[in-house]
């Protein structure tokens, strides 16, 4: 099928996955409103959410066969969008799988939880798949407003409310910066369409307004992807949020913000690479160094993983700076690997924490390898992968990012990446050492593992190991997905001396 954006009805087809998700989420919300609101109803809504996600996956597969006329529509129909859509849908499905246990244990039996998750996914898909500043802003807000509620979902827990307030205030604050940046870019180029903006912004003589816009956008995105020094909200929001939501925050939300970051900076502002490169270079270097040092002294496992996720944002920023085709391909590859390993790690933490999220300290994990060997083994796989040791996905992903950065002619940045990775081994291995080489302090007793959660863990572990051993097919897919953005990358390569 061909999509012609001059015919406005065609937007409905181009947005089919989003439409399916929205309709499904609204239906689930209605069902939840009319049900008797018992725990079984909430579970039914959860399974319904999975069905809706599956329908959206089918719509997304259908989208692969669709062509567009020209490349200036508000909605992009390229491989990049389809790849990221699959990623968000998959991440949301994993999060639903791991949240059944948590919601019944903590008594969060409101079915809105799952509907809100779906609305957030709609926002992410719009964010990564649009070629217009208006839609990108709307996607951001659609996602954020749903997630503010999710972070504060456990209303009986003061930590959750506090995390929601901090996340909300800084999220809205950063949205304002983002919006101001968009206004300045709009003023400098006279259009909100990213494809047209590329031709209208002249790299040789950039106006002051456009430079201000660039700087403001970097600040706004810095908050959204939690780059240092805009990361202060991250550990608090991650620690206080319900654990499945933390996994969602760390994986899908960060991924979608990065996807929009790439869409704006590499696609629309690719010719201005020399202007934004310095700014993001500093951000990337700080984001790799600072959280890896702070994580060394963390004692709370959720906080430790939060700092680890900030550090991973730094590695992804390196791929963004490289701005060549292999940079973007390695970026997509790393997103998949990172989603699998961070969701898996948070899933294990979620179960071991027990009722009321009591056990989150590192000392609670002592001796775990002997009392709960399976949990310790699975957590070790994810930690090893997050650390970036072979033969796991984290190692391959980091390797490709390094290669892309070297190809683009950067030297110091890859060195920082390697050194900080070496530093990070210390705190990941500290957890593993505690699990296997220290005597158990307090016995955890039996831990309840739900069936759905086991499935999610197996899937995450399988992806982590599969990507580590046989990375060529996924990497090929990632490379094909960014081909639509390729002309951009070549021009960037030519512009560099």
């Amino acid at each position: 099928m061909q999509i012609d954006f001059s015919n406005h009805l065609d937007y409905l087809w181009a947005l089919l996955p989003e439409t399916v998700l929205t309709a499904g989420a609204v239906l689930l919300l209605m069902y939840d409103g009319f049900s008797r609101r018992e725990p079984t109803d909430s579970r039914a809504v959860g399974w319904g959410g999975l069905v809706v996600l599956a329908a959206a996956v089918v719509a997304n597969i259908w989208l692969m066969g669709v062509e567009e006329l020209g490349a200036t529509g508000m909605v992009a129909l390229d491989g990049y969008r389809i790849f990221t859509n699959f990623l968000f849908l998959g991440a949301a499905a994993l999060v639903i799988f791991i949240s059944f246990d948590y919601t019944s244990r903590e008594g969060l039996t409101q079915g809105e939880f799952y509907a809100l998750l779906l609305f957030a996914v709609v926002g992410m898909m719009l964010l990564a798949g649009s070629r217009d500043l208006i839609l990108i802003f709307l996607g951001f807000e659609l996602m954020s407003v749903a997630v503010y509620v999710l972070v504060g979902f456990n209303r009986r827990d003061p930590r959750s409310a506090e995390a929601a307030l901090k996340y909300f205030l800084l999220g809205a604050f950063s949205s304002a910066f983002l919006l101001y940046g968009m206004a300045m870019l709009y003023g400098a180029s006279g259009t909100t369409n990213l494809a047209e903006m590329r031709g209208l912004l002249d790299g040789a003589s950039l106006s002051l307004i456009a430079m201000a816009g660039l700087a403001l956008l970097v600040i706004g995105f810095g908050f959204k992807v939690s780059a240092v020094p805009f990361h202060v909200w991250t550990p608090d929001a991650y620690e206080g949020a319900p654990t499945p939501v933390t996994a969602f925050l760390a994986a899908a939300i960060k991924a979608s913000a990065f996807a929009a970051f790439i869409r704006i900076f590499v696609v629309a502002l690719g010719d201005l690479h020399e202007y934004w490169e310095r700014l993001i270079w500093v951000l990337a270097a700080l984001t790799m160094i600072v959280p890896n040092l702070i994580a060394l002294v963390q004692d709370n496992i959720k906080r430790l993983l939060a700092y680890s996720s900030i550090a991973h944002a730094g590695y992804l920023l390196v791929a963004l700076i490289a701005a060549n085709e292999s940079g973007m391909a390695s970026f997509l590859f790393y997103l998949v690997a990172y989603t699998a390993m961070i969701v898996g790690a948070f899933a294990v933490v979620l179960v071991l924490a027990g009722k009321g999220d009591e056990r989150q300290r590192l000392s609670d994990y002592a001796g775990l390898g002997w009392t709960h060997p399976w949990a310790a083994a699975v957590l070790s796989i994810f930690l090893v992968s997050l650390a970036g040791l072979p033969p796991t996905a984290g190692f391959v992903g980091k390797f490709y990012i390094l290669r892309a950065a070297v190809e683009a002619g950067y030297i110091i940045l890859p060195v920082i990446l390697v050194v900080t990775t070496l530093i990070s081994y210390w705190y990941y291995l500290r957890v593993i050492v505690a699990m296997y080489m220290k005597p158990s302090v307090a016995d955890m007793g039996r831990v309840a593992w739900g069936g759905a959660l086991r499935v999610a863990l197996v899937v995450c572990a399988a992806i982590t190991i599969y990507l580590g051993i046989l990375p060529s097919w996924p990497l090929l897919k990632a490379r094909q997905s960014v081909e639509g953005l390729a002309p951009v990358a070549e021009q960037v390569a030519e512009a560099r001396p």
Binding site: L133, I134, F137, L138, E141, S144, V145, Y148, V149, G152, R155, P158, R159, A161, E162, A163, A164, L165, K166, F168, L169, A172, F173, S175, A176, L179, Y180, M182, A183, M184, Y186, G187, G190, T191, T192, V232, P235, D236, E239, G240
Partner: protein, 97 residues
């Protein structure tokens, strides 16, 4: 007029930023964020006079989003007030800032 309105908008935005950074009452911080959004709206309207209608469209969307955000934000502030009997962010100490 174009330049003046951009300057006014930048000043309003700066006032909003200063408010968020300096004030410690959650509701005042939230109001300052709204001020920042509306400062941007002013820029959009001023620019759209010279380059096209999209800026005004953008403003309509921003106002809608700000309304939705206000609903959720005030709900969050109420839920935290129930725990602490206060909306001063200095009192929230469970999570380190």
């Amino acid at each position: 007029m174009f330049f003046e309105s951009l300057v006014v908008s930048a000043v309003l935005f700066a006032v909003g930023v200063a408010g968020v950074l300096l004030r410690r009452n959650a509701i005042v911080m939230f109001m300052c964020i709204e001020l920042m959004l509306n400062a941007v709206n002013l820029s959009f309207v001023a620019i759209s006079r010279y380059v096209g209608i999209e800026g005004q469209l953008f403003v309509i969307f921003v106002m809608t989003v700000a309304a939705a955000e206000a609903a959720v934000g005030l709900a969050i502030i109420i839920s935290i007030f129930r725990h602490y009997e206060s909306v001063d962010v200095r009192n929230f100490r469970l999570l380190r800032w």
